[in-house]
């Protein structure tokens, strides 16, 4: 009984963020930030609070449109593309504050996330006959594989709002996986967890990376986790990128140390 994630491995990715700047009125959130991901790797974005990390993710994902600069994903420019279009291309993200439907069960939340991949319309789904039914069965199977992978089988029929924070974060990860991502953006996936929960989450992130072979960009505050699993680390401070390199290099970079400890 194999329970591997039933998703095809994607080819090498081509993701570029070129010189983007984002401001809200006089507040400069991001200033000429450039980064690129050319292969499957885990990239960690770190920086003090307010450095612009989530804003960067929001630009990639489509919530914010930068005033200058461009973002390209696999040959396509997506700087001003709508969020749904980016999701369709395969950019998935999790949220720091968890965006799940509290009154729906785990299974329903994950199936809802699959709606992007449903080809039958709502009318056909309402009648639930023939093609609509078999399509739902296929999507259900896909989602069950995710439930199995994330070890949340016992929470399948439980309303998400009744679950613990740690479990909801896991389901949030499942929600991102449900859209068959080619690029995964994780916004502080381990925030608020104890050591054991963090260990579990790290294991899942690594398993996803191993099985799916897609690049993962994660915002993380726990330096221990970053040093352990990141292939590359990008450091933001006051909206600018101050370092981009291997974890060891970044850790000993004087600019980075100054940013965290102050002058």
């Amino acid at each position: 009984m194999d329970n591997k994630l039933n998703i095809e491995a994607s080819q090498d990715v081509n993701f570029n963020v070129d010189n983007i700047s984002l401001s809200f009125g006089k507040l400069q959130v991001l200033q000429e930030v450039t980064m690129s991901v050319q292969k499957n790797e885990i990239v960690a974005i770190i920086g003090p609070n307010g450095a612009g990390k989530t804003s960067l993710l929001n630009c990639i994902n489509g919530f914010y449109h930068p005033q200058t600069g461009s973002i390209h994903f696999n040959g396509q420019e997506i700087t001003t593309s709508p969020i749904t279009e980016r999701a369709r291309l395969g950019i998935a993200r999790t949220f720091q504050n968890i965006e799940l439907f509290n009154s729906l069960t785990t299974l329903e939340n994950l199936l809802a996330a699959r709606h992007l991949r449903f080809s039958t319309g709502s009318l056909a789904a309402a009648v639930h006959f023939g093609w609509a039914r078999s399509e739902e069965a296929r999507h259900r199977e896909y989602v069950e594989a995710i439930i199995d992978f994330l070890e949340i089988k016992h929470l399948r029929k439980k309303a998400v709002g009744t679950l613990t924070y740690g479990m909801r974060k896991r389901i949030e990860l499942g929600r991102a996986l449900a859209i068959e991502p080619k690029l995964l953006l994780l916004d502080e996936p381990m925030a608020g967890m104890n050591a054991e929960e963090k260990g579990d989450m790290v294991r899942f992130v690594l398993d996803i990376y191993d099985e799916k072979k897609i690049p993962i960009i994660l915002i993380e505050h726990d330096i221990g986790v970053v040093m352990d699993i990141a292939d590359r680390v990008i450091v933001l401070n006051f909206g600018t990128k101050i370092a981009d390199g291997l974890p060891n290099e970044v850790q000993s970079n004087p600019d980075v140390i100054r940013a965290y400890l102050g002058e």
């Binding site: 009984m1 194999d2 329970n3 089988k153 399948r156 191993d210």
Partner: protein
């Protein structure tokens, strides 16, 4: 083919696939849906796996080690190996690499079937230190994608090899099966090691089948019955009872999706026959009683009233009385309001027979389940002696392990040990060391248990010879009674009685931290750590109450005088428990020797330094003080 003597497990499978090809044999919940496997499906899986093994170089006479959780693949691998003329070495899922190395050095296994990444890792660790390990075959591939070792193969790959071979060489598998003999060694099961290191006992097909037949004599189960088993697949009892019942009578084996979903899955299936280990039933009983303690006042009152009637039911059953009309009406009402809802909640709604085996269940627990209306039967099996005794319908009594099997003869030795002669006994240990006593001459097998046959012909099992053998029969009975009663308390997880024949009886208690924490919160008792909670005076009073009630039922000379509450629970990883959760008494008495000797003196407190092992592998020395409490406060 229909008239073959069905003296091996694979032959039984062949018969079943021919007789009932489309009946469901196994059911496994996967991805939220119950997947059914008919006898024909199982037959094909076993056939293809067996042929696949042969393709990879497996040979008649080889050994296949299997390690993993209870899933269909375990059974298919077992039967496949046996069909190929090989012996299975059954390993407990929590066996560590060091122990695996020891076993493989003694019993070289060319092939290993390991459940998942966790188990595979253990073998990868010791691979180079043992001879002959050719292939490690896994059936759950999660996490194993990146492993590139030559010796690793998936269950699916082996099935495919077998399928291709069968297409070109039809009939080879069936021929192999027919070449099997009842006297072939089917499985090597390891003993639990409660009194010494685990030993490998060799069991032939014939012995296992005879145990199964003996069990089926008293338990009417058939091909339409759903079975749930909580016995470890690596324990001999499982092979003797569950696998044998499955193959002999066609009982359907059901496999839950996951450890966490077991209760829910059992509720969905509502099995007809369930196999429990005694400790599991005790834990389940504790769970129910705890839930009732925390329930609303109406529920509590109803529960208390009707359980009173339920306990009367126990007396009627044991004494063969017929209750009055009023009582029968009350029982029927109790069934509707209390008993059935509770049973339904834990998945015992359609349970016709609940079998408890392993160590003898405490009398209080047995009576509790019977009061709830569950047809609970104790079955006594031993790795070396096979099926020995079991409750038969109409003759069920708490405190005994039932009537001795038809084909079994039991003798009590001069030291009180139960000796057995039957066609279900083992053929010897794999270890040929002289330190391990071989079965006695002229066919009597030593069970290592102390017991006697009571006035009504039922066997009573008291405990291990090595632990209580030196005590008088009366004291032996008391030991069991005390520990059983204490374990029945919702606040106690385990208890070990210490006492010499003439000395005082003292108990080390392991509280159930979860329930005691909740109790403490309800009574506004403050505590810093769990260890701190365990030493509180209020907790001691809680336990003292139970012991005092118990003392009233025992004769004056042998009462429990002192007790101590341990700061932590007994732990398998630290060597205090066997893999099935039974106490390793000798080890515990040595480890807590300071405490044991303090009981003899007048000390009120003992300072202890205990080595604690964390699951990551690091060690730490924990300093703690354990208080010794008197049961009767006015004694000083």
């Amino acid at each position: 083919m229909m008239n073959i003597e069905q003296d091996t497990f694979p032959k039984l499978l062949l018969r079943n696939a021919q007789k009932w090809p489309n009946l469901v044999a196994m059911r496994k919940k996967h991805f939220g849906i119950w997947k059914e496997y008919t006898w024909e499906d199982c037959f094909h899986s076993v056939k293809n796996f067996s042929l696949g093994l042969l393709q990879l170089g497996f040979q008649r006479g080889d050994k296949l080690a299997i390690i993993g959780e209870r899933e269909p693949e375990w059974f298919w691998a077992e039967l496949a190996a046996q069909a190929a003329g090989a012996t299975v070495v059954a390993l407990y899922a929590n066996t560590g690499p060091a122990e695996i190395r020891r076993i493989l050095k003694q019993l070289p296994c060319k092939f290993v079937v390991a459940h998942d990444q966790e188990q595979v890792d253990k073998f990868m660790e010791i691979k180079n230190e043992v001879n002959d390990l050719h292939q490690i075959i896994y059936w759950d591939s999660q996490g194993l994608k990146s492993y590139s070792d030559e010796c690793l193969k998936s269950f699916g790959e082996v099935l495919e090899l077998g399928r291709n071979y069968d297409a070109a060489h039809n009939g080879v598998f069936e021929e192999n099966v027919m070449n099997g003999r009842g006297d072939d060694c089917a499985v090597i099961y390891y003993t639990l090691g409660t009194a010494g290191p685990p030993k490998g006992a060799m069991l032939t097909h014939k012995s296992l089948i005879n145990s199964g037949k003996a069990f089926l004599e008293s338990s009417d189960t058939g091909k339409h019955d759903n079975c749930f088993s909580y016995l470890p697949t690596a324990w001999a009892g499982e092979g003797m009872l569950v696998t044998a019942a499955h193959l002999l009578a066609g009982t359907i084996l059901n496999f839950p999706e996951d450890y966490n979903t077991t209760m829910e899955d059992q509720r969905e299936i509502a099995p007809d026959i369930i196999f429990f280990e005694s400790r599991q039933l005790e834990v389940l009983a504790r769970l129910i009683r705890l839930k009732m303690i925390n329930a609303g006042s109406l529920s509590r009152s109803l529960y208390r009233y009707f359980m009173g009637i339920g306990y009367k039911r126990v007396n009627w059953i044991e004494n063969d009385h017929r209750p009055s009309l009023i009582m029968r009406v009350l029982l029927a009402v109790g069934n509707q309001i209390v008993f059935h809802p509770i049973c339904e909640d834990i998945g015992l709604k359609k349970c016709k027979i609940a079998v408890t085996t392993g160590s003898p269940i405490s009398i209080d627990c047995f009576r509790f389940w019977t009061a709830l209306g569950i047809d609970l039967r104790q079955v006594y099996v031993s790795t070396e002696a096979g099926f020995i005794a079991g409750h038969q319908p109409g003759k069920i009594r708490s405190g005994t392990v039932g009537n001795i099997g038809e084909a079994t003869i039991v003798k009590i030795s001069d030291q009180g040990e139960i000796l057995v002669k039957s066609p279900a006994t083992f053929s010897g240990y794999c270890e040929s060391s002289e330190r391990i006593p071989e079965p006695l001459q002229d066919g009597w097998v030593r069970t290592g248990d102390v017991g006697f046959v009571d006035t009504q012909g039922q066997l009573v099992q008291l405990g291990l010879l090595s632990v209580i053998g030196h005590l008088s029969k009366e004291t032996q009975l008391i030991h069991g009674r005390i520990e059983g009663r204490l374990r029945f308390s919702p606040y106690v997880k385990d208890a070990i009685v210490l006492g010499r024949e003439d000395g005082l009886l003292a108990v080390i208690v392991n509280i159930d931290f979860e329930s005691v924490c909740r109790w403490a919160e309800g009574h506004k008792i403050k505590y810093e750590t769990l260890a701190d909670l365990s030493q509180k005076e209020e907790v001691a009073s809680l336990i003292r109450g139970d012991i005092q009630r118990l003392n009233q039922e025992i004769s004056t000379g042998k009462r429990v005088k002192k007790f101590a509450v341990l700061h932590k629970k007994f732990n398998g990883e630290e060597g205090e428990l066997t893999c099935t959760g039974l106490l390793k008494r000798q080890f515990i008495e040595e480890r807590y020797a300071d405490l044991v000797s303090a009981f003899q003196g007048k000390a009120r407190k003992v300072e202890m330094e205990v080595l604690a092992k964390y699951s990551e592998g690091t060690d730490a020395v924990a300093k703690t003080s354990i208080r010794i409490w008197l049961v009767d406060k006015d004694e000083l």
